[in-house]
């Protein structure tokens, strides 16, 4: 009698755990709203708890205000180190759609790896390192009140005689630091810091990328706004050796994006389609040898700018997901021989599909 009661309880417990692991709990997390840093941190813990065999968190640095910079590592566990994809969101505080996208991306892959053979294969062969909010101090500050909403930089105080706060983290990396597209005035939004890697947030990313540089195949950094896919480098006179390939992959991603909701994303180097800049994380990633390094600038093109309405979160994330996956799948298929056949097939299918859909749009 006791045995059967126990076994019933055990079965119930397993079923309950199974329901939780299916992500039933996270159906209550609203991915179509912007979330505070506290909510995002709690959500990260939840993702880890609910998906223990594929998700774990790692603290890899501290912000100026002493917060733990945390990423989610997602993929099947492996005895040997795996190749990996890095994604960070929220280097710039006011670009709220970016952290929203990182959360959406995590939700999508965790929700599909068991049923989607393609995602399953990605989990097998790759690890995803995803940082939903890199510039936590800045992000929290942008939530403070209406006057702080448009903050961009870190929250480190100015040095020397500077009375302004913050360094532009995306000008602070050791990648042609200080050469172009920066300001030496510490009150400027593109102030690149007193020295390269003066910011602990940039240092944290640098340390992690350096420690994993042999594993990392792909570096994606998510920003807004502009509807752009940027390839290295930010300096007008420097070309990445695989520029042609990066452009092809970027253009395929833009086509994948357009197929979702018809939005046009322009592809090119920053000096071509946006502006020259130096010290960016994308450039640093490429310089240390991570072959595929892209900046995504999500919606929109200036109507709402940084204040993208919440009813656009879902469609923006959907299209950006297809864009990111287009890049990730290409890289995966190129690197994992077993799927060599599917490379051609997938590419052909994608191209034909988007040709058909864009022909209809036209």
């Amino acid at each position: 009698m006791k045995g059967s009661v126990m076994s019933v309880l055990v079965v119930l417990a397993l079923v309950a755990q199974d329901r939780v692991a299916c992500g039933l709990e996270d159906k209550s997390y609203d991915y179509t709203k912007y979330h505070t840093m506290d909510e995002i941190s709690a959500w990260m813990s939840q993702m880890e708890r609910e998906n223990p065999d594929v998700a774990s968190s790692m603290i890899y640095g501290r912000t100026y205000e002493n917060r733990n910079i945390t990423l989610l590592k997602i993929g099947f566990t492996s005895a040997t180190p795996k190749k990996a994809v890095w994604m960070d969101c929220g280097i710039h505080a006011r670009e709220w759609i970016a952290p929203a996208f990182c959360q959406h991306f995590v939700k999508e892959i965790l929700g599909s790896y068991q049923t989607d053979p393609k995602v399953n294969m990605l989990f097998k062969n790759l690890d995803f390192y995803i940082t939903p909010v890199l510039n936590m101090d800045g992000y929290i500050y942008s939530w403070k009140d209406n006057t702080t909403r448009l903050w961009r930089k870190s929250r480190s105080p100015g040095t020397g005689n500077c009375t302004c706060f913050g360094t532009d983290l995306n000008r602070n990396f050791y990648a042609n630091w200080g050469m172009v597209g920066i300001s030496r005035n510490c009150c400027s939004e593109i102030y690149n810091g007193p020295t390269p890697l003066s910011e602990t947030e940039a240092q944290a990313v640098t340390d992690f990328l350096g420690a994993h540089q042999n594993q990392l195949l792909c570096y994606l950094t998510i920003h807004s706004y502009g509807q752009l896919i940027l390839v290295p480098y930010g300096h007008p006179n420097i070309s990445a050796p695989n520029y042609n390939e990066l452009m092809e992959v970027g253009l395929a991603a833009a086509n994948a994006i357009k197929a979702v909701h018809g939005k046009s994303y322009k592809v090119g180097t920053s000096p071509d389609v946006l502006y020259a800049n130096s010290g960016s994380s994308r450039d640093f990633a490429r310089l240390i040898g991570i072959p595929y390094s892209f900046t995504f600038e999500l919606r929109d093109e200036g109507d709402y700018g940084f204040l993208l309405p919440e009813d656009q979160i879902q469609p923006t994330c959907e299209e950006a997901y297809q864009g990111a996956m287009s890049i990730i799948n290409y890289i995966h298929d190129k690197n994992f021989r077993g799927s060599a056949i599917t490379v051609t097939a997938t590419l052909w299918t994608t191209l034909v599909a988007s040709w058909i859909s864009s022909a209809n749009v036209f």
């Binding site: 912007y34 400027s188 006179n237 191209l351 988007s354």
Partner: protein, 316 residues
């Protein structure tokens, strides 16, 4: 394999207007500008000199922050390294020089034809070219399409052509725009504009609001026409402040206060926040705008409002 991809991308591209991107890949020429080190040396020297100049008689501790200096101050509007000189001739439509010039044309279009129910946005640049002009300056010729909001991408796109002249003068001079759009007169938002006008021209109307949209990008449907009016009014400022090194959008309306109507015009006091892409700066302007369906939008007063950490007096 690569040529297969290219051929297919080409066929896809011509439909999605990335054909020029392809030729960029295929030509495999990266523009080689004059010896880079000459530019670098020049820039470093220029930079050093300008830094020296920027140290006035004020003691260093009282040096005003960047945001408290005038908007005409080059250090505010542009990053401190001068932009690469573009080649004149045909421009890549997806690249920023063509887009910036088209944005200026858009600002101009909005000042002339914008209303609470009609704000123009850039859909796409089809063709662009630029040439230096004898008087000093660069003239852009543009062929582009615009959308109107509300109705946005659902509505018809208008085809426009424009010539945008950016003068090269020591102190900033606003660009000059010549513009032609097809079927401009046939746009019919006038019924909604008229209804909006009648609703708020009443003597006791005193609309006021702050932060449109709010931090979440949301705003009530009632406030949307006021937000669009702000975009049109802001276009006067953005047009005036534009150069080849700026790209302005209105980031947010900080506040709107309706004033007493005057001479059958709606009178609106706005504080708007403008965003400049290259410098990433947020620039605050206070303005007084009038509007009626017949007269269109006019900006009667405008005042730059520096966001200074201390109560520093703005220049002039």
């Amino acid at each position: 394999m690569q040529s297969v991809i290219r051929t297919h991308l080409e066929s896809v591209s011509s439909h999605s207007c990335y054909a020029t991107e392809l030729s960029f890949i295929n030509s495999s020429t990266r523009r080689r500008s004059p010896p880079e080190w000459i530019m670098k040396t020049f820039c470093s020297v220029w930079l050093l000199l300008s830094l020296v100049e920027l140290r006035p008689a004020l003691p260093v501790s009282q040096e005003t922050p960047l945001a408290c200096r005038g908007p005409a101050d080059p250090a505010l509007q542009q990053p401190e390294t001068p932009e690469e000189m573009d080649t004149t001739g045909d421009l890549e439509p997806t690249h920023y020089p063509a887009r910036r010039a088209a944005t200026v044309a858009l600002h101009y279009l909005n000042t002339r034809h914008g209303s609470p129910y009609r704000v123009f946005g850039l859909q796409q640049v089809h063709k662009a070219s630029a040439e230096d002009v004898a008087a000093g300056g660069r003239k852009y010729s543009l062929d582009f399409s615009v959308t109107t909001s509300p109705s946005g991408s659902a509505g018809p796109a208008l085809r426009c052509s424009a010539e945008v002249l950016f003068p090269r003068t020591e102190r900033h001079t606003p660009p000059d725009v010549q513009l032609n759009c097809e079927a401009l007169q046939q746009l019919n938002s006038t019924a909604e504009d008229e209804a909006f006008y009648q609703k708020y021209i009443t003597p006791d109307s005193a609309v006021s609001a702050q932060y449109l949209p709010d931090s979440y990008g949301n705003m009530s449907e009632d406030m949307q026409p006021f937000w669009r009016l702000a975009r049109v009014a802001a276009s006067f400022i953005m047009l005036r402040e534009s150069s080849e090194n700026t790209e302005f959008n209105m980031a947010q309306v900080a506040s709107i206060t309706q004033q007493e109507s005057s001479e059958k015009q709606l009178m609106l006091d706005y504080v708007v926040l403008l965003h400049d892409l290259p410098s990433q700066e947020i620039i605050q302007w206070k303005l007084l705008a009038s509007w009626s369906p017949d007269s269109g939008v006019r900006v009667l007063q405008m005042e730059w409002q520096p966001r200074c950490p201390h109560a520093t007096k703005p220049p002039n």
